[in-house]
């Protein structure tokens, strides 16, 4: 963090597509388990990944990253201090290679609200990356929760979107968890972010 930087910047490595055979390298047996099986309060967040023709994308992968229920990260760059989660085995990270019908899911616990650098509060959210054959770089989106409508009205990221697009970042309640479809292109295109 306080290491001196070298005077000359090194050239960054550019992105390339994951290609059609990503599952060989990126599939883990426990990939969907942000929390271990049987964790109290665990929910499934999942949905389907669609292309611009409305067809499912069977050769993609969704990755999620989130705070724990207290809104904390076990990471040294969290200036509030890196704290292990009170949820045993909480990994914060999930991934899910899409199935033939484009479906994906992670099993997790709801994150707490997370402050923004300027002191305002962000509504509970997951960051998600989408990779697929036919995508030369990942795209990034966010997943919010339907219970938090009040917090959404104050969330700086949701507020940066046109009002009619905000709802597409809010998951729907379904039995056992939440549904969040991702549309890469087209009518109800998911908002994607420049990070």
């Amino acid at each position: 963090m306080s290491e001196p930087a070298t005077a000359e910047k090194l050239g960054l490595t550019p992105s390339q597509t994951v290609g059609p055979f990503l599952r060989i390298g990126l599939n883990w047996q426990d990939e969907s388990s942000v929390v271990p099986a049987g964790t109290p309060g665990a929910v499934t967040i999942g949905g389907r990944l669609f292309d611009g023709a409305g067809e499912p994308v069977p050769d993609g992968i969704i990755e999620t990253w989130q705070a724990d229920p207290a809104g904390r990260f076990a990471h040294p760059d969290d200036p509030r201090g890196a704290v292990e989660s009170g949820v045993p085995g909480f990994r914060g990270f999930g991934r899910s290679c899409t199935a033939n019908d484009g479906s994906w899911f992670v099993i997790t616990v709801r994150p707490g609200p997370v402050p923004a650098a300027d002191g305002t509060l962000q509504a509970p959210h997951l960051d998600a990356s989408v990779f697929a054959r036919g995508m030369l770089n990942r795209v990034v989106t966010r997943i919010y929760f339907p219970e938090d409508a009040e917090a959404h009205a104050e969330d700086p990221v949701l507020r940066s979107l046109p009002p009619e697009r905000r709802g597409t970042l809010v998951a729907a309640t379904v039995e056992g968890g939440y549904r969040f479809d991702i549309r890469l292109q087209g009518g109800a295109e998911t908002p994607f972010f420049d990070l």
């Binding site: 290491e3 930087a5 910047k9 090194l10 050239g11 960054l12 490595t13 550019p14 992105s15 390339q16 597509t17 994951v18 290609g19 059609p20 055979f21 990503l22 599952r23 060989i24 390298g25 990126l26 292309d51 611009g52 990755e63 990253w65 989130q66 705070a67 990260f73 076990a74 990471h75 760059d77 969290d78 200036p79 509030r80 990994r91 990270f93 997370v114 402050p115 923004a116 650098a117 300027d118 509060l121 962000q122 959210h125 990779f131 036919g134 995508m135 030369l136 770089n137 990942r138 795209v139 990034v140 890469l184 292109q185 087209g186 295109e189 998911t190 908002p191 994607f192 972010f193 420049d194």
Partner: protein, 247 residues
Amino acid sequence: MTDTTATARRMALPRYERTDGLHPPLDYPGYRSTALRHPKEPLVLLPQNLTEVTGPLLGSERVTPADADLTTRHAGEAIGQRIIVSGRVLDSDGRAVPDTLVEIWQANACGRYRHVNDQWPAPLDPNFDGLGRTVTDSSGRYSFTTIKPGAYPWKNHHNAWRPAHIHFSLFGRAFTQRLVTQMYFPGDPLFPLDPIYNSIPDPEARKRLISRYNHDLTQPEWALGFEFDVVLRGRAATPFESAEDDK
């Protein structure tokens, strides 16, 4: 201290440099499959806050030492030219990224992937599945032993062939640094013909994906050595500038 007190306001977060012009465009007609898989709406600026400047610190718990040698994971030895692929994971300020997970996958020596959807008439090797994982050491260095992958045909256009490559997946230490890319081999005659390689706008940046033959890595009577460093986003020059200033 709770998160919402005044003392928690204006947190000093690391801030990562922008990557404008570096990555291939998501809409790239030369690679036909991008047509229906790129957003048409403009991307929205996401300020780098806690979720973005942190990330999964995945390390040795996910790998065994055997995962770094793709040639010896089965009863017999994998067929092909044995190679060592090694390099460092750094950020653009030259800081090493230690203890970070590196995942690779690739075709076999004949250019065939062990995947149900790869059915072109090249042989599978029962002793090669094309998957490797390792963790960088304290200086950010990784090393794999594998087989030089073959080129393979794809259906993007008539007589289309991908240059030989190895897929690389990297995490760095922050969500902002996540990167999936491909490593190529020096002198491949297919470079000028490959839309995926040429989708990178800057020809100098393309060359960063080409590994270098390194005789010091080569092991006598065993394996040829190729060096491939990966450079992830470093810190932005003005760490406390407000995100609004970027618009």
